[in-house]
Assembly symmetry: C2
Homo-oligomer: 361 residues x 2
């Protein structure tokens, strides 16, 4: 199967997305923010979390699961912590508002930590964590998500791909930005293999009986994604622990729906029964660097850290050692310059969406 | 090779360890604390980090790298953050003192985060993080360590096994305690394979050229431990990112020595030149549950979370699904009752140590 990519400018896709969120009923401010957050995924090369999901958000809106005019409110706080209720808003809007609270609290008392309930998918974790960087703060972002991942020793899907992002400012060097799902591989990588009709490496998925599988379609056949590590022998209990921490911080702390009760992203999947909380949950944090040592000192050493790791002896001279955030930053520079490629299926999906929204791509 | 275990009571080993730390010159309070922290590893089944390391600590003391009478002091703070200088003390003493500061700050403003420099190895991360549990707080502990681990794409050892522990209180259920190195497998597991003369699974180690290896002795031959994930295809860039976050939070934030400059644990290994900071670093944190929602509500849902995960459908009916902390808690109960087994080599090493310290096992 040949796939053709069409190239669109960032500005063109941003305008299209903005008009779509306005058609949903968002305020102009929220529509602009949601568009910027969503498209940061496309810019940074995380295509599975960007505009390819726009029609999915729309279907959640149609199903009454997204409130386009949320009253995002703080429901509990101490000087350095808070819980925010997202009022069923787009996570793309709720999460940046919660992160602003974390940054304010960090400014006042050194660090700020905000758990969010009653939200929806927030795009890439990286956008929210990186909001802390201009303030000379370290940013954190996590979210729980629909259950696609089995715990070690299980054949039952109990956790989402539950990403973690930690963004750390540097001085002259670009920031350190680690943004990753707590699974061995993201679902988007499986979709690429499906399109190419190729097998998946062992350790990415298992079948419906909980047995190792190389079938890139295993998830569609009742199987599951595996926690980072793949199996017990390769440390999957650590990936499972990480995904659990994300779930608990995002949803049990805030009062969102956790574990296998997390609301599914596809609007056609029925909501779980007996949900123990409201909507999806996020966890956002900010720590002031100068809460620990003068920012100039920290940045000097962070630059030295980054340069030393870039200079680490490579196993293959053709493949230099990277620092977390390098690939996404290079992709962002390239796509800002040259535009964002969308595969045929995504273009067709957005054109179809336009028939409902009245917004043409 | 047959190895024989001798069984010792916890109290016997604790007395022996305490007298050894007193012989080092520690105060009675510090010797008792260090013994309790060190032996918590043996109780919880993490044998590589317990009394088996006591002679290693003694040799660091002899080399002038451990100060038995440290003046542990707070050098920088905000209401929710602080940096502590460990004055070259035992990490076994410095880390709990720093964690007390984190807990105090959390009591006052909702959360507390302490970065520590100029310290030494702190035993298991779990001890320190679990200090938060009786206060209805979530505890965090991390530490950097001697460089044994290569970044993805590298053949140069740049990071320690850099563990993370997150301890989360529950209500009627035992606490959730995830305590793990950010490598695929701990060095202690390789030592077991070495004793049995068995091969290591792919993904645990690589050889000196940066090529995949199943040689359990690879590390001794110039190879390295691999970050969680093993190789790029299996997500090792995520394990590398986690180990890096631990290194930066523990050492770059505090002013300790980071990356390949982390001081080595074996006293016979020369210290790196041009060290960019002082000693090893740790990072400790505490968050009040009721900084987010009433503690009783959180604990009710945490119990439900734990019960639901225990009830997840197993792949093999003989192997139920575990919650992080289960194996260590069961081991602690069993060894508290039945005693702690030490392998011959450790017993011989401690008897040899006794000739120097005058303390008999």
């Amino acid at each position: 199967m040949v796939t053709m990519d069409r190239i669109f400018s960032y500005q063109h896709l941003c305008d299209y997305t903005n008009r779509t969120f306005l058609a949903m009923g968002c305020t102009p401010g929220d529509a602009a923010l949601a568009s910027k957050v969503l498209l940061s995924a496309d810019l940074r090369g995380i295509d599975s979390h960007g505009i390819a999901r726009l029609s999915g958000y729309w279907r959640l809106f149609e199903a009454g699961r997204i409130n386009p005019r949320p009253h995002v409110r703080l429901v509990h706080e101490t000087p350095s912590t808070a819980t925010v209720d997202g009022d069923k808003g787009l996570g793309l809007v709720v999460a940046p508002k919660a992160m602003e609270i974390a940054i304010q609290k960090a400014g006042a008392v050194g660090s700020g930590w905000v758990s969010v309930r009653n939200s929806n998918h927030f795009g890439i974790a990286g956008y929210h964590a990186m909001m802390a960087l201009p303030y000379d703060m370290i940013g954190w972002a996590m979210t729980n998500a629909s259950a696609l991942v089995t715990p070690t020793f299980s054949r039952e899907k109990m956790l989402g791909t539950n990403p973690i992002c930690v963004a750390i400012p540097a001085g002259e060097e670009p920031a350190f930005v680690a943004d990753f799902a707590t699974t061995t591989a993201a679902n988007g990588k499986l979709e690429i293999l499906q399109r190419k009709n190729e097998a998946a490496p062992l350790g990415w998925v298992q079948d419906a009986d909980g047995q190792p599988s190389t079938d890139a379609n295993a998830l569609k056949k009742g199987g599951a994604l595996l926690p980072l590590g793949g199996d017990r022998e390769h440390g999957s209990h650590k990936g499972y622990a990480l995904g659990s921490i994300v779930d608990i911080f995002s949803a049990v702390l805030s009062g969102a729906s956790y574990g296998p009760w997390a609301p599914p992203f596809p609007a056609y999947v029925p909501m779980p029964t007996d949900m123990p909380g409201e909507g999806l949950g996020h966890f956002l944090g900010a720590m002031r660097i100068d809460g620990f040592r003068p920012a100039s000192e920290f940045k000097y050493h962070m630059d030295q850290w980054i340069r030393r790791f870039h200079a680490a002896a490579p196993a293959d001279p053709e493949q230099p050692v990277l620092v977390p955030g390098d690939p996404e930053r290079l992709m962002e520079a390239q796509r800002t310059r040259n535009g964002i490629p969308l595969v045929d299926a995504v273009v067709a999906d957005l054109q179809e969406l336009g028939k409902t929204t009245g917004v043409q791509l």
